[in-house]
Amino acid sequence: MSAFLAVIARDLRLARRQGTDVAMTLAFFVVVVAMFPLGLGPTPELLARIAPAVLWVTSLLAAMLSFDRLFQQDSEDGGLDQLALSGLPLSLLALAKACAHWLTTGLPMLVLAPMLGISLNLAPQSYGVLVATLALGTPVVSLFGVVGAALVVGARRAGVLVALIVLPLLIPILIFAVSAIDAASAGLSVRVHLLFLGAILAAAIPLAPLAAGAALRQALD
């Protein structure tokens, strides 16, 4: 357990020292969302209609920018060997990496998204559901991202490759999250959509680290 927390503490400390890495991901999120009102012109109804999809697709794309720092640097500087020798099973190592990634990427997005919703004229009753879908969805993004990053350790153009592997896997998250926010805007029940998101998260927490651990084992050989 202490090694698990030490890995998270190490990654958080590195993220704080190399603050630009995190800031760039979040800045990308903000800048891309801010371009939609400018590009679509003064059409508040259209903006409100596409707001959930814009926020979610942009958050997924921004997250793709952050995956290459999960294992790439550690693999290049020998740190991955040391992590593997921490005595922590590789799957738990992957889970620790996912936790640190979510704390530095998913959590800040959770805070930023409602503010960006204002610029997209998101329906007032949808803000709570937007935050709820992000709270359930972004941990899955981090978990799947760790699987993708573990698979491409040592590969060329790893950042693009991770996006190509992970984005299709996240389609269910996108569908249920956007339909939940749409349902809230239309005044319908959001329970089913949120339950599906929760079910995906509940399945991903044990399964994604196992897959990532197996991929890391291959990467060490």
């Binding site: 202490s2 090694a3 030490a6 890995v7 503490a9 190490r10 400390r13 590195l14 020292r17 190399q18 640097q73 290049e76 500087d77 020998g78 740190g79 060997d81 040391q82 992590l83 593997a84 020798l85 921490s86 005595g87 922590l88 099973p89 060490l220 050989d221």
Partner: protein, 244 residues
């Protein structure tokens, strides 16, 4: 440092490597390699570049699984309990595993904390204060790193980075040191300090396995092994099957 210290490692155990065969990327490296290291012993891995020295170290560390054969600690195969084996091993690879954004001291402390070697009762805010980790203080003093402790690793030279990585190994308190070309980039004073550290470690009952080209003095009674002397013969059907 040569005060007769009590044995650091109360239950001495023997490391045995039995008939291991390894292929990397589908290409055979060596087969039927066996060796043993006693408590307090040292083994030098010699031989030409590409001979498999690093591969032997990675197998003994448990990072690489052999196709056949096994590595055992005190008679128990390490693959049965990788977590316990990881606690015994301090591994210094080709790369120094330093993070440029952290200082030399933080790098060593973070690595020791992840390996479960940090002193207990230490909160994140207390780390980085000198005197917290006595073993690390001694290792930094031995390798003349005290002046560099608060510099970011990005500012250090290659030899200085190597010394920080060695300080991590020396301070780890692990009985088995696996050193892959430990002297790369080191000046003569640092090589002498490393030799002193190895002598102390062996006196306390620890083991050292080092892959090295230069005449690094591992102390009396060190054995030598060349993985290149264990070529892969395709007649060995068991190994060929494992490779396929």
């Amino acid at each position: 440092m040569t005060v007769a210290a009590p044995p650091l490692f109360p239950d001495p155990a023997r490391l045995t490597v039995t008939d291991i065969a390894v292929a990397r990327g589908g290409r055979p490296v060596f087969a039927d390699l066996s060796c043993a290291v006693e408590p307090g012993g040292a083994l030098r891995l010699a031989g030409p570049n590409g001979g498999g020295k690093s591969t032997v170290l990675r197998v003994i560390a448990g990072l690489l699984r052999p196709l056949t054969g096994f590595v055992a600690w005190d008679g128990a195969t390490i693959a049965d309990d990788p977590a316990a084996h990881a606690q015994r091993v301090a591994y210094l690879g080709h790369a120094d595993a330093l993070k440029s954004a952290l200082t030399a001291r933080e790098n060593a402390e973070t690595a020791l904390a992840i390996a479960g070697r940090a002193p207990t009762g230490q909160s994140a805010s207390e780390r980085g204060r000198p005197g917290e980790n006595a073993a690390l203080d001694r290792a930094f003093a031995l390798l003349d790193l005290e002046r560099l402790a608060d510099l970011p690793a990005a500012w250090l030279s290659a030899g200085q980075r190597r010394r920080v990585a060695l300080a991590r190994v020396i301070a780890s308190g692990c009985p088995l040191w696996l050193l892959d070309e430990p002297t790369v980039g080191l000046d003569t004073a640092s090589v002498a300090a490393l030799e002193r550290a190895i002598a102390d470690h062996r006196q306390a009952g620890g083991m050292v396995i080092a892959a090295t080209h230069i005449a690094l003095d591992l102390g009396p009674g060190d054995e030598s092994l060349d993985p290149g002397a264990f070529p892969w013969r395709h007649a060995e059907s068991a190994v060929d099957e494992a490779l396929v």
